[in-house]
């Protein structure tokens, strides 16, 4: 039984086929930026040639499709219809021209404090229709407490839309501006993503792989089934770094607080593990300048990589953040970090002779010994990595907590181990070790860790349950599930309900529900008091299938 993983990256597309004992086939092809499908096709066909196609069970795919579409502005116009009520001026969050604010409001408990203005809603929709909009995002403030106004909007938009994203369907977490941006991007890439999904299904059919299950990677280190991803394509953005992190989990037995480096051509990605678990971004990642609610592993990128150019400014040797073409070893003209590593005989790649000659010539031009230049360049790169890591750990340790118990417990992250992957990983291992004085490991197969991570990662999902027993309601926004509950409804019942709905949701996605990986991540119940009487409970429960891999090879 084989599991396939494909990671479409900026330069390369990596693919692996994994059997019970390890890698059965691996491929690296150049990514054709304008035709991602062709890159996937050629990687796939090579894998299929080297394996038994009938034993392939699943394909997990990490693709830059949505990311590229967003970054390059290749997406369609979206009608964004919002309703805010008191607070910040909603026009501050206007991210496209078809942006309409409808009077109406809900408060923090989900009570309607002002009816949605239907006339204004009709006008907004007709204006969108006139500008030819076919996809809509409808988002109201506090919709995770009560989706009523978003549903009214959905009803009013009706047939005008090929696709509608309602804010509360994205997540039950609160953050109105992020919810607007997330819903917007989800609509913006919906069509292009669905065309791609069609093409992938067609291609697999052609190759005789119609029977396999396809999952799309998400930025949180989990996957979602292809049919589901068609409705939430925004969740597929920035999955690349997560694939690499999950690869490390499959390849190494991580138990301590650890630092993970993925040193690429232009950037180094830094991730932090607490115990054996990768850290998740508190709220969600930024797309362009817009923060979103897309859950992601906490990965910090800095502008230092193998192809980062070496420069001298006021006598100080610097590496990056600009990338000026490839390294001399690969036909470039300006020496890079990789060329410095080649000079020190730490790295064996490309045209060694040409690299060394070019490096020495550059050094003599600036009146420096090539040895000194190489040392200083490597030192500068490592210093940058070191300083950014310290800042990141400090930032995480500063993260707010809200109970006395948590504050006094004061769990601080103290990294004990470093794992490095990516092109220059081996070459920089000793230098990194000398700087940090922490056990440093470069896993075997580190160059395809991303594809391995993609192949092995599990389907993840999270839900938030919110109940207000005074109003007698329980609501799980992302599932659109709402139920009346008695006044006796309590935290225990809520936790049970949350877990059951989580597992049932997995079942609907045709994922074997594994109770062991489901866990409650936050759970609280507050007595609501009016005067001196307790009138009900305000209950919040969050649970998730935690990110992880289905097997390990360590």
């Amino acid at each position: 039984m084989l599991l396939l993983g494909i990671d479409v990256g900026g330069t390369h597309t990596d693919a692996v086929a994994l059997g019970p004992k390890g890698i059965e086939a691996q491929v690296k092809v150049a990514t054709n930026h304008d035709d991602l499908l062709s890159s996937i096709k050629s990687a796939l066909s090579e894998i299929v040639q080297n394996t038994d196609a009938s034993s392939i069970k699943q394909l997990n795919l990490s693709t830059t499709l949505s990311t590229n579409a967003i970054v390059e502005g290749r997406f369609e116009d979206v009608g964004v219809i919002v309703s805010a009520g008191p607070g910040l001026d909603p026009h501050s969050f206007m991210l496209c021209k078809d942006f309409h604010v409808i009077p109406g409001s809900l408060d923090h408990r989900g009570s309607e404090t002002k009816q949605l203005n239907n006339l204004s809603l009709e006008e907004a929709i007709s204006s969108c229709r006139k500008s030819g909009v076919k996809v809509y995002a409808a988002v109201t403030k506090f919709s995770p407490r009560n989706p009523a106004h978003e549903k009214e909007m959905e009803l009013a938009i009706g047939d005008n839309a090929d696709f509608i994203t309602l804010g509360h369907q994205i997540t039950g977490r609160l953050n109105f501006p992020r919810r607007i941006a997330t819903a917007f991007y989800n609509c913006a890439v919906w069509r292009v993503f669905n065309k791609f999904a069609d093409a992938i299904s067609g291609t697999l059919e052609e190759m005789g792989l119609g029977h396999i299950k396809v999952n799309i990677l998400k930025a949180d280190g989990g996957t979602m089934p292809l049919p589901l991803s068609r409705k939430v394509p925004v969740q597929s953005i920035f999955s690349g770094p997560a694939a690499s992190v999950m690869g490390i989990i499959a390849l190494c037995k991580i138990t301590h607080d650890s630092i993970i480096y993925d040193i690429g051509g232009t950037t180094t990605d830094i991730a932090i593990f607490v115990g054996g678990t990768p850290l998740i971004e508190q709220e969600g990642i930024n797309i362009g300048s817009h923060p979103t609610l897309v859950r992601a592993l906490k990965v910090h990128s800095i502008g230092v990589g193998g192809d980062s150019a070496i420069s001298i400014l006021e006598g100080i040797v610097r590496v990056g953040p600009t990338r000026v073409g490839p390294s001399i070893a690969f036909g470039g003209e300006i020496p890079t970090l990789t060329d410095a590593l080649i000079w020190k005989d730490s790295c064996d790649c490309g045209n060694i002779g040409k690299s060394k000659a070019g490096f020495a010539a550059f050094a003599s031009k600036i009146d420096m010994e090539p040895d000194e230049l190489a040392d200083k360049a490597i030192e500068n790169a490592i210093d940058k990595i070191h300083d950014s890591t310290r800042e990141l750990v400090e930032e995480i340790n500063q993260q707010p907590v809200y109970t006395i118990h948590e504050l006094l417990e004061n769990r601080r992250i103290i990294p004990r181990k470093i794992y490095i992957m990516g092109g220059p990983a081996k070459a920089m291992k000793m230098d990194i070790f000398r700087k940090f004085r922490l056990s440093t490991e470069v896993p075997e197969n580190y160059d395809v860790a991303n594809a391995i991570g993609a192949a092995l990662t599990r389907t993840t999902t999270e839900i938030e349950l919110f109940a207000d027993t005074e109003r007698g309601v329980m609501f799980i926004p992302s599932l659109g599930y709402r139920e009346n509950v008695p006044r006796t409804y309590n935290l225990e019942a809520a936790e049970k309900d949350a877990m059951n709905h989580l597992l049932a949701h997995l079942g609907e996605m045709r994922v074997a529900a594994d109770g062991d990986n489901a866990l409650i991540t936050a759970s609280s119940s507050f007595n609501m008091v009016n005067g001196s009487t307790t009138v009900g409970r305000n209950i919040r429960v969050k649970c998730q299938i935690k990110p992880g891999v289905v097997r390990t090879y360590s």
Partner: protein
């Protein structure tokens, strides 16, 4: 993208696992909806606004300010150590230049805690702002500090802590003490003999709304601040002047609080009271945060807000106008003599009975200030909780002269020899020595 004009640090600590009692106004739920509102607004995504974790205050921070009997740990719970630590964190952010301004959105509050504390009063056990201010002075040197208390209740604790301090200007605007707890806070209380005109009380009539508060700001608070020229402005940002607050009778709004904050420009704001936890706090806290950061707050208002029906009557405005005529005089032409204390030799002595409403007992206290021409003067306090053991405190103030310092130590020695007191505490701000005796 929204951007803050002033970088702002918010220390949000709702103490979700602490309450005075399950249905007490000071309970777990108090900041729950505020948190929901701030999260939903995306406040912490605004460029320049960042959330921080509180520190935990040290016992020395508390014992630098208060005479605590039997001891600090017995009076302040973990939650007090953290809310005070939250204010200290706010101060550090500003003093170290990491943030232009800071807001300690923490509970429990502190402005009813006096110089000597034997227990909790008015939901407060230790004085959060005073502990923060003295932490600042201890670490960053002597500063002129103005504390503006905008809680609906008279900040009697802060008044008491700074009664003898000429370098701290305390202004409290509150609902008239004849109509509400703690029943104090009148203009005649202008400060102790060495700090006359440094304690300004502004008792406002029930029903005061935005226009009344702003008149007080423009005609009393701002002119005095302009003259006092503080190094730091602290706002005790209580929110119980709100028109929906269940335990007060004022008509102030979120818009009003934000406008007041915009005018006051405090370096550090610290949450005090405010018990309309659903209808007021989410909006008032948002308004104050935005005003501190210099972000547009014009859309922040309560769902039921109607400025017309909340407006003060002409009578109320006239009355406030008369206050605005007379009160600035207390600062600009302070009375020659303090209204409290009788002269006994070199000492100015006050006998007082102080009621601790939260715990239901009365303290009898004798406070004496050594009248000195060289410095602020040595302070000693003798205290007894209803038939309980006696406590004794001595404070050698910042900038104390040699004579006051030496007198302080000889009085302490004498008291030890006599062994009349079960507990004794020495606060020596001059040499930063803090000692306690007894058990």
């Amino acid at each position: 993208m929204l951007k803050a004009e002033n970088s702002l640090g918010i220390i949000f600590f709702p103490a979700y696992d602490w309450a005075i009692s399950p249905t007490h106004p000071e309970r777990e739920e108090r900041l729950l909806y505020t948190q929901d509102q701030l999260r939903e607004e995306g406040l912490f995504d605004i460029e320049g606004i960042r959330e921080y974790k509180p520190e935990v205050a040290e016992t020395e921070d508390i014992e630098r300010v208060h005479f605590c009997f039997p001891e600090a740990e017995a009076i302040a719970t973990r939650s007090h150590y953290i809310s005070t630590g939250g204010a200290i964190k706010a101060a550090e952010l500003v003093m170290q230049g990491e943030r232009d301004r800071a807001f300690a959105l923490v509970r429990p509050p502190g402005h009813h805690a006096m110089k000597t504390v034997l227990g909790s009063r008015g939901f407060c056990a230790i004085n959060v702002e005073a502990i923060m201010c003295e932490h600042i002075r201890e670490k960053y040197g002597q500063k002129r500090i103005a504390i503006i208390d905008t809680d609906c209740h008279h900040g009697d604790g802060t008044q008491d802590v700074y009664w003898h301090d000429p370098d701290t200007l305390f202004i409290s605007m509150h609902q008239d003490g004849r109509t509400i707890y703690p029943g104090t806070g009148f203009p005649k209380d202008a400060g102790g003999p060495k700090a006359l005109g440094r304690n300004i009380n502004i008792p406002l009539p029930p029903g005061t709304s935005d226009a009344g508060f702003m008149m007080v700001m423009e005609r009393i608070v701002m002119p005095i601040l302009e003259d006092f020229k503080p190094d730091l402005i602290i706002n005790s940002a209580g929110q119980d002047n709100h028109f929906t607050d269940p335990i007060t009778n004022m008509n102030f709004s979120a818009q009003g609080y934000a406008a007041l904050t915009k005018m006051l420009k405090p370096d550090i704001a610290v949450l005090e009271g405010g018990y309309a936890i659903q209808g007021a706090l989410p909006y008032v806290n948002l308004g104050i945060s935005l005003a501190l950061a210099g972000v547009d707050y014009s859309h922040v208002c309560e769902p039921g807000w109607n400025p017309e029906t909340l407006k003060e009557s002409d009578e109320i405005m006239k009355y406030i106008a008369t206050l605005c005529e007379s009160i600035p005089n207390i600062y600009f032409n302070p009375p020659a003599k303090s209204n409290e204390g009788i002269i006994n030799g070199d000492w100015s002595v006050r006998h007082r009975n102080i009621f601790y409403d939260t715990e239901g007992f009365t303290e009898s206290q004798t406070e004496s200030l050594l009248l000195c021409n060289e410095c602020r003067g040595l302070l000693k306090v003798q205290t007894q909780k209803e038939n309980g053991p006696m406590g004794f405190g001595i404070e050698i103030p910042i900038g104390a002269c040699d004579k006051c310092r030496n007198t302080g130590y000889s009085i302490l020695e004498e008291a030890q020899v006599k062994s009349k007191y079960r507990y004794m505490q020495m606060i020596n701000r001059r040499e930063k020595e803090y000692m306690r005796y007894g058990f």
